[in-house]
Homo-oligomer: 434 residues x 2
């Protein structure tokens, strides 16, 4: 039976079998030290070409980095070995050899390699344990997000990503050649999650791809990303949604501290505590602009990326947490379906976390006459929204929701410089591979 490398210490003085990738090779006279890597971690193999088997020594001498091997040997204590134990090799089988011209070093600190090289050779750069750890943590975010939603009675939905028209007017959409017609890739499951609340599920969540055909080339934009979408009936205002998001983030952050402490450590990252999350200030859009203006020493007309950073710095200083909810966004800055608070502002919010917007949400219009009015006010064609309008024509409860960008959340948890580092195979204006 194969033993995972992280657990060889449990088999001291036993003959065991291990498997993995050759991470590092060091020769010391007649002794080769091979650092082997598997899904669980790493351990040191020792091949003694003086006293050991000649076949093993010959195979070992030809090993290249990243070759896949199966190994048998004796587990022995060694204070100098990583983890305090090593495997003294008695059998060594080459399962799949690696060519010697690796396009980038797998066993070095990835900070020394350019992001462009890392993404160009993504199939290989992901072997770097520090790079790969980003996606172990991301898997946990998915787990804890879904787990939390289910614990509050939310139903998971999967909706189509091929839509006839855009949810927000048709700009920023990728067109798809669909048989004899043209459709678009959905920017969000907005209409569908509202439909499912109103169809009677009341509380739904979706984990799915979202697409933005925007020509941004910034460290915070992706053209394809994973959206963690939430929608719930019977809210009074966006305040209920912020409460819900705090509960979700508590579950995710607690879970990561429990399950992914190693990844957090590797990236020298921490997540806010429950106490900190309870302290996230909630400021109105007007207050937010004023605060930014005061701190930046100039008149502020809108909350741009620099403003987001200033606000989070302010929140850390004043409230001890690097996050801010900004609510009450102006009507002209929100989509037509956003519930108005008054003539100027809406029941909507953003969550800024460590200087970046990671969530947008709000209450939606559920009243049929108000919706028709707003569609006209926004200059949209009711005919192009006929399916959506049907949700409200036949009775829809008050509701609202939000979406968390998975890659942005990952980025900000680990302190990654670019959101592309938090996407396995990121797509941007120039990059459509690997």
């Amino acid at each position: 039976m194969r033993i995972m490398l992280a657990r060889i210490s449990e088999h001291a003085a036993e003959q065991i079998e291990v498997r993995g990738w050759v991470h590092r090779i060091r020769e010391l006279g007649k002794i080769s030290f091979i650092l082997l890597r598997d899904a669980s971690g790493m351990a040191q193999l020792v091949v003694d070409s003086g006293s050991g088997s000649e076949t093993v020594a010959r195979t070992a001498s030809r090993l290249t980095l990243e070759s896949v091997v199966s190994v048998r040997g004796l587990v022995a204590g060694n204070d100098k070995a990583p983890g305090g134990f090593e495997l003294r090799v008695s059998e060594l089988e080459l399962i799949a050899g690696a060519e010697a011209d690796l396009p980038l070093a797998v066993n070095q600190d990835p900070d020394k390699v350019s992001l462009d090289t890392i993404l160009e050779h993504r199939m290989i750069s992901l072997r770097n344990p520090k790079i790969l750890s980003v996606f172990r943590l991301q898997s946990s975010i998915l787990e804890f997000f879904a787990g939390h939603m289910r614990s509050e009675g939310f139903t998971e939905i999967k909706t189509s990503k091929l839509i006839g028209t855009g949810t927000e007017g048709g700009t920023g959409l990728f067109a798809v050649e669909y048989f004899d017609t043209r459709v678009f890739l959905a920017q969000s499951p907005q209409f569908y999650k509202q439909a499912m609340v109103s169809a009677g599920l009341e509380r739904v969540f979706e984990i799915g791809c979202a697409y933005r055909a925007e020509k941004h080339e910034t460290p915070r934009h992706l053209n394809e990303y994973v959206s963690l979408d939430v929608e719930t009936a019977w809210i009074d205002s966006e305040q209920d949604l912020m409460d819900l998001e705090v509960r979700i983030l508590k579950t995710i952050f607690e879970g990561l501290q429990r399950n992914n402490a190693e990844v957090l450590q590797q990236w020298r990252a921490t997540v806010p505590s429950n106490e900190q999350l309870d302290r996230i200030p909630r400021v109105s859009h007007d207050q937010a602009k004023e605060t930014i203006g005061t701190l930046a020493g100039r008149k502020v007309y809108e909350i741009n990326p620099e403003g987001e950073r200033i606000l989070c710095d302010w929140a850390l200083k004043e409230h001890g947490v690097e996050a801010v909810f900004v609510f009450g966004w102006p009507r002209k800055k929100r989509p037509f379906y956003t519930y108005p608070l008054d003539a100027r502002s809406t029941m909507s919010f953003d969550l800024l976390f460590r200087g970046l917007e990671i969530t947008t949400g709000g209450r939606r219009i559920n009243e049929y006459p108000m919706l028709l009015e707003n569609i006209e006010l926004f200059g949209l064609q009711p005919a192009s929204l006929a399916d959506y309008i049907e949700i409200f024509k036949y009775g829809c409860p008050p509701h609202g929701g939000f979406a968390i960008g998975l890659e942005r959340l990952t980025q900000k948890i680990l302190g990654l410089a670019n959101v592309k580092e938090a996407s396995l195979f990121p797509r941007d204006r120039r990059r459509i591979r690997p």
Copy 2:
């Protein structure tokens, strides 16, 4: 505090608040019986216009089906009411009225409505409790699938659905206008899940959309579907994969019996027991053709949909389970990356369940020279597969995997006539909305 309708029996003789959609209205002299529906179920409201409040009676008299209301009243026992309890209404607030021209009946057996009408007015037909229940069950499938994979140490991944070239040669792909170039919607995360196994995760799963630009118009095809993908290192052959799939199905089916008994009952559906799943026969592709041939009384050249039904009937009769694994598919019927068993056949399998293929999988080629050879044999261009080839050039362990179609599995569990009934917003050649 709002009480969910399924739980009013716990509040006998109390004044409570409930909310929901008006499902049915029945007038009996001065008394109106209103069946109210919420996410949890239904309960009967009683409005007595003789003795009760005039305001309530007036509001009640104007109610239309599907209107959303908030109600206060006294919970009282009534043997004739669904669930044995009813709510005697003292306050009735119309939250969102429904127009009277419902495009289809929400409160009747959907079997009487054509699938076309159901899909045309999807926003409304999903309100039908029987139709909606399909997607409650589907949410549970997602939960139990992911839970099982995590319990076996699999990491969840999210990979791009925008690809430069097809995984299987470029036919059947939808093209996307991507800035100044053209990309395609992925048919499967095949290359990416293999990349992540080889990047060191060893065991991965993905829940994501898959696209097939096929002109099929059958009850078993969708142009967009949700694929439950699995890939794992260190298998010997496809037999290990069939073992894994049986374990997954056990978890899913046990979970559904526990959590979704009502849905199963509503559709008069059952799922195979663990004992039945252990009895699923494994027949080679040759044996399968022979069995079909014997039963159909003619020579069989390939396993077509009729053959799949015959095989499942045979399995039920001979082995007491409506499922068959067919392994050892011919090389010419499988993609270039499938591991060959010999000159003619491959280490691959399908799972047929209740007459329908719900899984395709197999061991993949992990050896670099063999892969290059097979790419040539299939007449493909290595240059177009350069990123994929990089996975194997630098050491990749033996591995394999499979994909389960979420909608097909849902369809077959509930006995739905058409796979489109198992997709919230199905896409086919003619349908791109709602």
